[in-house]
Symmetry: C2
Subunit: 351 residues, 2 copies
């Protein structure tokens, strides 16, 4: 029987694992970004997106990964920006990003809608007859309108300086970054929202257990024994965000029967503001918001906790067959409303 190891707490995690080498540089950038948003009196949301990895070797050849293209995070970030928020987009390197997400090289490659105009102004797919100097590159007419919309929004965000991008790969990168970014954002008090859409590894290999070189195959079966990643929502709520942040976490389940109970358990256990539950196979058109009942309105209700459930369930559904509608538009709209209530409630005591 393998020797049982004590569980890592957040504290013991950070005292035994090493920070990523980019941490100092990343946090300097975040500090400056947050300072400027505070000056410009903006609300800021940290959006985490994509899956974290657990490398099996120090010289990484293999790793355990969490399934996540980053669609939820990247799409939500765009709607937050549209709603006037500044966004810190902390995402898995190479996963989807706001704006460029519309032009995935696999599903909608931009090279397919660029055309070469020869010097004589005749449109032609091949530029063999014209000199390079006279050739122009233009956008296929049918694609122009949509690209112009995206490009205009992209450039506006760049000009306003409201999007700050960070990347992580491993769960270790992610945990160190999340803590540090949350601490920087805590100066914004209630005006900071935390939208934790990343798919974070539940298990990891402590540095002390990792092999240096590629684990050699040819030795029969492979046994991997991993430790549980400490639950960081607790220190995040109680400590890193200064207790004032509006924290939204996600619960992804494959068994629909577990979805609401587990979301409720999470909210009860950590004491944050919203858990958004989604079923893996329905997440593009249906989510459920779990929150504490008294948090929904700014006035208190005379609720009797013996006879009514303490948790509100708010189901958001869209038409799964409408290709022009993205559920993140409605998710963000609902959260913006709730965040406004949260910010307004700063004078009133919160449970």
């Amino acid at each position: 029987m393998p020797q049982s190891t004590p569980l890592f707490s957040a504290e013991s995690y950070f005292s035994t694992q090493l920070p990523p080498s980019s941490l100092e540089h990343d946090i300097a950038g975040v500090k400056e970004f947050v300072r400027r948003q505070k000056e410009e009196r903006r609300t800021v949301v940290l959006v985490t997106s994509g899956g974290t990895t657990v490398p099996l070797e120090l010289n990484v050849v293999r790793f355990l990964d969490n399934f996540s293209a980053g669609t939820r995070g990247a799409t939500s970030a765009e709607y937050f920006l549209k709603a006037g928020y500044a966004v810190i987009f902390m995402h898995r390197q190479f996963s989807l990003q706001p704006f460029s997400r519309h032009y995935s090289h696999s599903t909608n490659p931009f090279l397919d809608f660029l055309e070469i105009e020869r010097g004589t102004d005749q449109l032609s797919p091949v530029a063999s007859d014209s000199s390079p100097e006279s050739s122009q590159i233009c956008v296929t007419p049918s694609k122009r309108k949509h690209l112009l919309e995206i490009l205009t929004a992209y450039k506006a965000v760049y000009a306003a300086g409201t999007l700050h991008t960070l990347t992580f790969v491993t769960v270790n990168d992610y945990l160190w970054l999340l803590r540090a970014v949350s601490q920087e954002l805590s100066v914004l008090r209630r005006k900071a929202m935390y939208y934790l859409a990343a798919a974070v590894s539940d298990f990891f290999l402590p540095r002390q257990k990792m092999s240096e070189h590629k684990i050699q195959s040819g030795k029969g079966s492979l046994h991997i024994e991993m430790d549980q990643v400490p639950k960081i929502l607790k220190p995040m709520v109680d400590d890193w965000t200064g207790k004032d942040g509006f924290i939204v976490s996600f619960k992804l389940e494959t068994d629909p029967a577990l979805l609401v109970p587990k979301a409720q358990t999470s909210l009860q256990r950590y004491g944050h503001q919203v858990v958004i539950g989604n079923d893996l196979n329905r997440r593009k058109f249906e989510v459920v918001f779990i929150s504490r009942k008294e948090a929904l309105t700014s006035a208190s209700e005379g609720t009797s906790f013996e006879s009514t459930p303490p948790y509100a369930e708010f189901w958001l559904k869209i038409d799964p067959h409408d290709p022009s509608k993205e559920i993140e538009e409605d998710i963000v709209a609902e959260l913006v409303k709730r965040h406004e209530v949260w910010i307004a409630g700063a004078e009133a005591p919160i449970n």
Copy 2:
């Protein structure tokens, strides 16, 4: 003690695991592509690229992955196309592809070099003053030349129909696809090359061992026990490719001392044409070709095997600090030469 399970052979693998649902459709496309290339008398190369995954659950939430952006495969595919080959590009979904690889959304996003020209013909980063109908999208002057080169090559390949793209995700997808594609390509006899640059999982979870739903955390440590993936180079060389294909495999190592010995062992064990060895940390500027000595020339050499090694070691190195040079250009040039010898040697008996 866990019960020891017998190793999977390629045969027992295919008789116990299920083919991907897309297999039939994929192979119909390959069959047609190969038929056309045969008519047009082209050499064809199958380029495999990117890492394979081993899902841990049937409803995939977590998976084991192999580190591979697909740079080697995507870059090589471009050079093969340039050299006049037709290419079947069998890659990990969302990994790098020929041509679009130059415009990674993370490192060189194309949105950064598009500009909006207002109707009055004045260049402006913001189109707020002009109506959408009169706005044009153009390419930043400094980026035009390079994009024009890529776009021209991309459109030429599209017009000639010399690139066929397939995707895989899991190691199961990969194995079924590799076998089926190889069998289709075998009709081309010696004119088919197989460039196996994909990072294939060494271990997997047989369907019978997978859980249906997300493995629940909160149960202490996670134990994963995996079976070895059968070595498919043997059936590939002996069977699927019809014994005539020019097969190039890769060996990636993190310990430099193991590189050449393991590459030689592989060549000896499977009997194919070339093993390209690369050290994880040096692979962008240095590789070694391992092949059998008599295969290098069309004339036989009077070699004495007792005193000289039976394997030739050919080191390819480029200047690591030259940003304009890609080692794949030289790798492909060398393989094209060797493939020509292979094709010419069709009349002569091969060892």
